[in-house]
Symmetry: C2
Subunit: 440 residues, 2 copies
C-alpha cells in the first residue's frame, strides 16, 4: 500500500523527513568503464565510435554512414501519420512562442562617473543534443531540448541518437526536422558523448551537450564537463499534487500516475486537507492501474515512492511542505491556485487549477518539460533559452573616469598585495608607485 | 623567453593549437581524501569539523566558538585603515549598482487560445560563501560573491573562512560586513564545504555553495553538487590584450602582469599587429618584473604560459583568435574598441579602450570578477544575480483552453506510449479512452 502521512500525527516530521531522504542517489558504478570509452574515443576518433556502435547497437557503420543523410531522415519522418504530425507541429509552435519570451535583454548605460557599463548575450556556437534510443526516445524531448537552442541562435545543433539493430525512430526524425536540428549522427552511449565533446574526423566538436540518457550517458556528461558545458543530470520524475476535496478523484489519480508511469523510481505525492478524498484518490489509482499500458511500472513507483499527505489547512500547511519537497512538477488543483502559487518558493514548474494536468505541459503547454529533480528546484531552473546563451560584461573608462574610480582600485590592490594590479591602474594616472613597504 | 607566434608563419596554426591545448587539466588526485572528509562530516557533524580544524588550522574550537561573534567581527573590521575602508565602500556601492541591473523580469501573459503562461524568479533561500584563508583571502572576492546573492534576495548568506593559527583577516571581515553576510564560521577546507552542504548541529545546511578555494575545496564542491548547487570551478586566471602600436608598451606590460602575478599557472597573451610593439611590450614586462612584489610568480607564469601573437590585420584576424581562446578577460586597447568588441563572441568580460586596465574591473568597475576560465566563455558566464535565483514556469488552462490544446497532448502521449499521460488529459475532456491497440 502507498504511504499515508498526516500532519496531526506526532510522528509526522520523522515520516516526512524519511520521504525526502529516500530519493535515489546518483549511480557512480559505471564511471570507470565510461572513462575508458571516453579515452578511447579521444584517441581513436571515428574508429572507436564505429567499434562501440557495432558492439552495443549491432549496427555496422563507416565514416560515410555515421551521419544520417537527408533522404533517410525525410523518409523516416514521412512515415509519421498526419494526425501525430499535426500534434507535433502544434507542440513545436507553442514551445517556440513561449521560449521567445525568454530572450534576455542586454544592458548598456553610462554611470554618473562617466564609466560605460554593459552586459550582452551571445549564443553558444555549437550544441550537441543527446536523444536516447529504444523506448525512451521521446519526440517531445527532442522539441524541448532543440527549440530553446534554436531560439537562442545556436548555429550548429548536432543530434546523436542510437539506432539499435538499425531501427530509426520516425517520430524522432520528424521532431528533429520541425525543431531545426542541423545534423544527425546515428550513435549513442558514452561514445556519442565523447565524440561530441572531443570531436572526431567526421564529427566536429560542440561547446555544450544537453539531453537525457541512461547511467552511462549521465556519467559521460559529468566526465566531459569542463571541456564542454552540460545541462543538469536528470533524476527520476516527480509530481506533487495539492488538491482540495472539490476535485474528481479519478482526475487527480491519473495525474499522479502520469509521472509514476515514467520509471519505477519516479515519485508521485498528493497533499490534501481531506482524508476521505485521499482515500478516494488511492482507490482511483488502483482502478486506473487495471487498464493502463505501463501499469507494472506505475504500480511499482506508486507503492515504493508514492505518498498521501493529509494536512488540516492547505493554505497554511501546504506551502512549507511544497518548499521542502521542491518538486519537479507542482499541480495546484484548488479554487484559487494563483494565491497558493504565490506562497510557494521552490518548484520547477507549476500547473494552475483543476483543468491543467501536468501532462499537457509535457507536450503542448509551451514551457519546457526539462526540469530540476531531486529537490534541485531549491537552486536550479528548468531548461530555457538562457542555457544556450552566455553573458559577457563590458566596462569602458576614459581618462577622466579612470581618474575618478582608479585610485580606489589601486588602494585595494595594495591591500591585497597585488602589485601589478595596482601598477596597471597607477601607471595610467601618473600616480606614484607603491610605497616601498608594500613593494618589498 | 616568452613564446612569439606570427600568423604569417606557416607553422602558426600548430603553434596556436599548442598554446590552447597546454592549459592545465583539473586535479583529481585529492578526490579520495576529500570523499573521506565529507563522509566524516556527514556522520559526525560539528565534532568532525572541530577535529579537522584543529588538525589543519591549529585552532581549537567548540560548538560555541565555531561561529564568529559580532564583537570579534567588528573588532577585526575596525582595524582596517580608513582609506582602504573607503575604497572597499566605493567598490561595494559600484558592484551593487551594476548588479541591480541584472535583476530579471518575470513573464506573464495569456495567449490567443486562452492559456495562461508565465515565468517567475525566486531567490535561493540559503547560500554558503567559501573564502580562502591566508594570502588568497581577497576582500574583493568577498564582495563579488556576496553582493549578487544579496541583490538576488538571498535571505541567509553564510560565510566560511579558515583562520589558520587563529589569525582573523580584518579586510575580509570588513568586506563581509559591507556585503551583508549574515553569519561567519571560522572553518575551511573540504570540512567547511561538507558542513555547508549537509549541515551540522551548529551550522544549518545551505542550498548553494559559491566561492574560490584550493584543490580540496574544488573537489569537495564537485562532490556535494546535486545535494546543493555550486558555482563553476575556477581555473588559473587569464588575460588576453588586443593592442595596436598606439599604446604605451609599459601600460600593456603592466596589464599582462596583472593576471600573471596571480598564479604560476595563469596565462597572459598579447595580440598586436606590430612586431616592434610586441618586442617593446616584452621588454617592458622585464622592466616591471624587476620591481614588482610578486615578480617570481609573475615571471614564471609569463615564461611558461605567456605569448605574443603578431597578426597582419587586427580587425580581420583578432576576432577569430579571440573566440578560439575564449578568454576570461579581454582588453581591447585600440582606437575603436566597440567595433572590435562587436565582432567577438566568446569572452568572460571585455575592457574597452586604452584607459580601462583589467584590474579596475577586479575591484571597482561594477561587473563581477568571477568569470569563466579555460575556454569556458564558449558556454558559460560570469557570476551574477541569476546565479542566486531560479526560474519557475507557470501554466494555467481553463476547460476551454484545455479543450483546444489537450487533444494534441493526448495524441503525442499515445505516440510515446505513455497511457497515464494521455488519460490525465482525456479524462478531463470526456474523450474516449485510448484505442485498444495502444492500451495493450
Amino acid at each position: 500500500m502507498v504511504a499515508e502521512l498526516n500532519t496531526a500525527d506526532p510522528a509526522f516530521d520523522e515520516a516526512f523527513a524519511g520521504l525526502l531522504a529516500a530519493r535515489a542517489e546518483f549511480d557512480t558504478s559505471v564511471d570507470p568503464v565510461v572513462a575508458e570509452i571516453l579515452a578511447d574515443v579521444r584517441a581513436r576518433g571515428d574508429q572507436a565510435v564505429i567499434d562501440y556502435t557495432q558492439r552495443f547497437d549491432r549496427v555496422h557503420l563507416t565514416t560515410h554512414t555515421l551521419r544520417l543523410d537527408d533522404e533517410t531522415i525525410d523518409d523516416a519522418a514521412g512515415r509519421v501519420d498526419p494526425e501525430t504530425l499535426a500534434a507535433l507541429n502544434t507542440a513545436s509552435e507553442r514551445i517556440t512562442r513561449f521560449h521567445e519570451h525568454q530572450r534576455p535583454t542586454d544592458i548598456a548605460f553610462t554611470d554618473p562617473t562617466g564609466v560605460r557599463l554593459g552586459q550582452r548575450h551571445t549564443p553558444v556556437d555549437a550544441v550537441g543534443l543527446y536523444v536516447p534510443g529504444g523506448t525512451a526516445a521521446y519526440p517531445s524531448s527532442v522539441l524541448m531540448n532543440a527549440i530553446p537552442a534554436k531560439v537562442a541562435g545556436v548555429e550548429r545543433l548536432t543530434m546523436v541518437v542510437p539506432t539499435p539493430d538499425g531501427v530509426i525512430n520516425p517520430l524522432v526524425m520528424a521532431a528533429a526536422r520541425l525543431a531545426g536540428v542541423d545534423e544527425i549522427f546515428r550513435i549513442g552511449g558514452a561514445q556519442a558523448v565523447g565524440a561530441l565533446a572531443y570531436g572526431t574526423g567526421t564529427i566536429a566538436p560542440v561547446d555544450k551537450i544537453v539531453g537525457p540518457g541512461n547511467a552511462y550517458v549521465a556519467s559521460a556528461k559529468k566526465q566531459v564537463f569542463g571541456t564542454v558545458g552540460i545541462d543538469m543530470i536528470a533524476g527520476p520524475s516527480e509530481i506533487l499534487v495539492v488538491a482540495d476535496r472539490d476535485n474528481d478523484p479519478a482526475w487527480i489519480a491519473a495525474d499522479l500516475l502520469s509521472q509514476a508511469e515514467h520509471d519505477e523510481a519516479a515519485q508521485a505525492i498528493l497533499i490534501t486537507d481531506d482524508a476521505a478524498f485521499a482515500r478516494a484518490v488511492a482507490e482511483a489509482v488502483e482502478g486506473h492501474l487495471r487498464t493502463l499500458p505501463r501499469s507494472a511500472i506505475a504500480a511499482e513507483s506508486w507503492r515504493r515512492h508514492g505518498a498521501l499527505i493529509v494536512v488540516e489547512d492547505l493554505d497554511e500547511q501546504a506551502p512549507p511542505l511544497v518548499d521542502a519537497i521542491a518538486p519537479e512538477h507542482l499541480e495546484l488543483a484548488v479554487a484559487d491556485p494563483d494565491a497558493l502559487a504565490a506562497r510557494v518558493r521552490h518548484a520547477g514548474a507549476i500547473f494552475l487549477g483543476r483543468h491543467t494536468p501536468e501532462a499537457v505541459g509535457d507536450y503542448v503547454g509551451g514551457p519546457n518539460h526539462v526540469l530540476p529533480t531531486s529537490r534541485g528546484a531549491r537552486f536550479s531552473s528548468g531548461l530555457g533559452v538562457l542555457d544556450f546563451m552566455k553573458r559577457t560584461t563590458l566596462l569602458g573608462c576614459d581618462a577622466n573616469a579612470l581618474a575618478t574610480i582608479g585610485p580606489s582600485a589601486v588602494r585595494l590592490a595594495q591591500a591585497e598585495g597585488l602589485g601589478a594590479h595596482g601598477l596597471s591602474v597607477a601607471i595610467r594616472l601618473n600616480m606614484p608607485r607603491e610605497r616601498p613597504a608594500d613593494a618589498g
